[in-house]
């Protein structure tokens, strides 16, 4: 008869494998998530990092080129303070417009955020039913 111990070892091995996968996964895929204010306060340390920043699209800052699909705008606080330039190439998300709250995912460079994805928040009315939905990814 096989004793309990061997099964505990087997189970522990699985638990260890799962833990390792989670640990390695987080190490290699995680990124910072900042509100704009936090980001501006510590941006010098973040040069070259891939991160997510939440802020508002500054009024009057949006430039959109339909030929090249290049979108440039400034991410700012709600009242337009501490703007950070954002450059993005791709489809302009449906919900993207001036004054709206967005989350920008991209690499922080000297000249601003090079976005690879722009996520727009749904309008404040929208309370999704449980289980429905995705981010409105703009990539």
């Amino acid at each position: 008869m096989l004793n309990r111990r061997r099964f505990i070892v087997g189970a522990a091995l699985i638990a260890a494998a799962v833990s390792y996968l989670v640990y390695a996964g987080i190490r290699t895929t995680s990124m910072y998530y900042f509100e704009l204010g936090e980001f501006v306060a510590r941006r010098d340390a973040l040069l070259g990092e891939t991160l997510r920043v939440k802020g508002w699209v500054k009024h009057g800052s949006v430039r959109w080129d339909a030929h090249t699909n290049e979108l440039a705008f400034e991410l700012a606080t709600k009242d337009g303070g501490s703007p950070v330039p954002v450059a993005y190439r791709g489809i302009r998300p449906d919900m993207f417009s001036e004054g709206r709250e967005v989350v920008v995912e991209g690499r922080y460079r000297r000249d601003g955020l090079a976005a690879r994805q722009i996520m727009t928040s749904c309008p404040s009315k929208y309370e999704p039913a449980a289980g429905g939905g995705e981010p409105r990814a703009g990539s």
């Binding site: 987080i26 995680s30 339909a66 989350v103 929208y126 039913a129 939905g133």
Partner: protein, 659 residues
């Protein structure tokens, strides 16, 4: 009228509180009249919640914009079917809907068990009523669906356009049904612990409920994926968003339970583990509701914060503490002497399947709450996205797929070399042949390759089981033999069918993640672009308008391998009432692949459009797999003649030692 609705909800709360207390008191002191009284209270709660729901529905259909809820989630131009769907379109309505389902299931459970499980039922009723008290309290004290506006609105703000979709009509009810029916096994587990009836009785009583809940969770997840695929227009069906994870986690744990419970039935092992899985499934449904309602985790679309978060966390803690306390109290009685004998046994395969399923649930949980945890611990929010979940879950998923082939055919207790040869020689050979064929077809080695080969292995085990059974009854015609075979052992063959559906889903996920083609180009009329085997020509833009919305459609001619196959017209719609543009995907779906076209943008001055084209191979098999799973579940749940006899026998036996 709305005041009546409010009154009904308040009364329902009182009755539910009484039902919970009377159930516990009647159960502990064994007073039959108290127990009956608790059950009658539960029926009354159901009646009152039905009244409240009907009143809210009536207000919606009559466009009574004096009600805050009606004004916020519907409008006078909203089509009727979506006006009904608005019942679960917003938070207040969906909590009422949840309560409706909970009390409906309570009623059904009580009716089913009028003559059975008399020792358990007081505590079952009490547990379900306690859950009802929680939701009714939210409706009474926190989010009143019958709240009046100070000044009636002239028009409603309308339902979010993204929810105006037929998948959205059936996805939330299905998911809620799965969520809420998980309360029934939970209530029975609590009752078994409370009453000290720790044998198999409670497990047999909830087998069908657990399957029912699992089936609707499966369906809800798939319908949600289907909705995301059709409506959101980013080319995929699953993004590991917190609200998706919220629905996925209870499904995983519930799947684990359905497997491990078989070990308890056959070998009387894992009693504690089974109780834990049932408790965990329920806790995860509450946690899931918390995730979607609290805004604690920044899902891109739960930006609305509702302030209910602390209540859900409080209730969750209460549930975990109460259940954990009961479990600790009964722990000595729950332990069983039986032990695993060999790694090469069905028990072991099921146990590992359980560990992997719970491991996946843990990984998903960890990834979902990681931003919050990191903020607490390190003061910085760190998020993980789809790459994390894919990287962790792909290898675990493969192990699971492998075990799906091993578990059903390996022997109980200890597999002999002969059993192993007999069970696995054929399927393993089939898997190896498939792998060789894939290599010849130059499928690059990787997860997709492994998934396909393992899929053939699993299908091989299932096919072998059916063929062997067929050989034993060669004197009958094939369909008749199949019918008799399945009829005789519904659980077994229904289970095989479910596995076939699962294989189909695995293959679809692997193929569509590994071999999807994406193309994006900015075109003027007459320009062409290529996407895999497809050639696309943008012909012209058309537009039209009605009271509800205006739309732009890009007409695109499509060729596949040089042969013209038709025209697709992806659209952009501009809804008028919540002013909002949405993307309407155009799709050509076949068994081998989906061509998925999105009108990315249209620039009127220049006439340029940007088209996004995705070629997603084998996605159809995701939905087909879902249908197969549903069929298998039905087979499994259908009562067999033997079972009906067993129930009749138990009823007879139960009546002898009358109380």
């Amino acid at each position: 009228m709305p005041e009546l609705g409010r009154l009904a909800v308040c009364l329902a709360l009182l009755f539910a509180a009484y039902g919970a207390l009377a159930g516990v008191a009647g159960g502990i002191r064994r007073r039959a009249h108290l127990v009956r009284s608790a059950e009658h209270a539960a029926y009354a709660v159901f009646g009152l919640v039905v009244i409240a729901t009907v009143i809210l529905l009536r207000a919606l259909l009559r466009h009574d914009f004096t009600l805050e809820y009606v004004a916020a989630y519907s409008s006078s131009t909203l089509p009727t079917q979506y006006t009904i769907a608005a019942l679960w379109g917003g938070q207040k309505g969906s909590l009422l809907f949840w309560t409706l389902l909970l009390t409906l299931f309570t009623t059904i459970v009580q009716a089913q068990n009028r003559e059975r499980n008399r020792a358990l039922m007081p505590f079952v009723t009490a547990t379900l009523m306690t859950v009802a008290v929680f939701f009714l309290s939210l409706l009474v004290f926190m989010t009143d669906p019958f709240e009046r506006l100070p000044v009636a609105a002239r028009e409603g703000a309308d339902l979010n356009p993204l929810l105006q979709n037929y998948w959205m009509m059936i996805h939330p009810p299905s998911l809620y049904t799965g969520y809420v029916s998980a309360s029934v096994p939970f209530a029975f587990a609590i009752a078994a612990l409370a009453a000290g009836q720790l044998g198999d009785q409670w497990i047999r009583s909830v087998r069908r409920w657990a399957l029912f809940s699992w089936a609707f969770l499966s369906l809800g997840n798939l319908l949600g994926a289907r909705w995301a695929y059709e409506v959101l227009g980013w080319g995929g069906y699953w993004a590991w968003d917190p609200v998706e994870n919220a629905a996925f986690m209870p499904w995983l744990v519930s799947t684990a339970y359905l497997h491990s419970v078989m070990i308890q039935e056959k070998r009387d092992m894992l009693r504690v583990w089974n109780v834990v899985l049932v408790l965990l499934t329920f806790a995860l449904t509450i946690f899931g509701t918390f995730l979607t309602r609290s805004g604690v985790i920044s899902s891109v679309h739960s930006f609305t914060q509702s302030g209910l978060g602390p209540f859900f966390i409080g209730f969750l803690l209460f549930v975990l503490l109460a259940a954990g306390g009961l479990l600790a109290y009964r722990f000595p009685e729950l332990r069983t002497p039986a032990t695993m004998e060999s790694f090469l046994s069905r028990e072991a395969a099921f146990l590992f399947n359980n560990l992997v399923l719970v491991g996946i649930a843990f990984a998903v949980f960890w990834g979902t709450v990681f931003p919050v945890l990191s903020e607490w611990v390190r003061g910085v929010k760190i998020t993980v996205g789809p790459p994390f979940f894919n990287r962790v879950n792909a290898p675990l998923g493969l192990v699971l797929l492998f075990l799906a082939g091993v578990g059903p055919v390996i022997a109980w207790r200890r597999a002999s070399p002969r059993n192993l040869r007999r069970a696995f020689a054929g399927p393993v050979a089939a898997g190896l042949v498939a792998a060789a064929a894939l290599a010849v077809a130059r499928v690059p080695p990787g997860y997709a390759f492994a998934t396909f080969a393992l899929a053939v292995f699993v299908l091989g085990t299932v096919a072998q089981e059916f063929l062997r059974a067929r050989q034993a009854m060669l004197h009958e015609s094939a369909p008749r033999a199949l019918g008799r075979l399945v009829g005789k052992n519904r659980r077994r063959y229904g289970g095989y069918l479910i596995h076939v559906g699962v294989v189909s889903i695995f293959v679809a996920i692997a193929a569509s993640s590994a071999f999807r083609i994406e193309a994006q180009e900015t075109l003027k009329p007459g320009d062409e672009m290529a996407a895999g085997k497809f050639r696309l020509r943008y012909e012209r833009i058309t537009s039209d308008e009605n009271a509800h919305l205006s739309r732009l459609a890009a007409e695109v001619s499509v060729w596949r391998d040089g042969r013209r196959i038709g025209t697709l017209a992806p659209e952009k719609r501009f809804y008028k009432k919540p002013e909002q543009p949405t993307t309407e995907v155009a799709m050509r779906s076949t068994l081998s692949e989906d061509l998925y076209l999105v009108l990315g943008s249209y620039d009127p001055p220049s006439g340029l459009v940007t088209l996004q084209a995705y070629v997603n191979p084998l996605v159809s098999w995701l939905w087909i797999g879902g249908v197969i799973m549903a069929g298998g579940t039905l087979v499994t749940m259908w009562p067999s003649a033997a079972e009906r006899r067993a129930v009749a026998y138990e009823l007879g036996r139960a009546q002898v030692p009358a109380e």
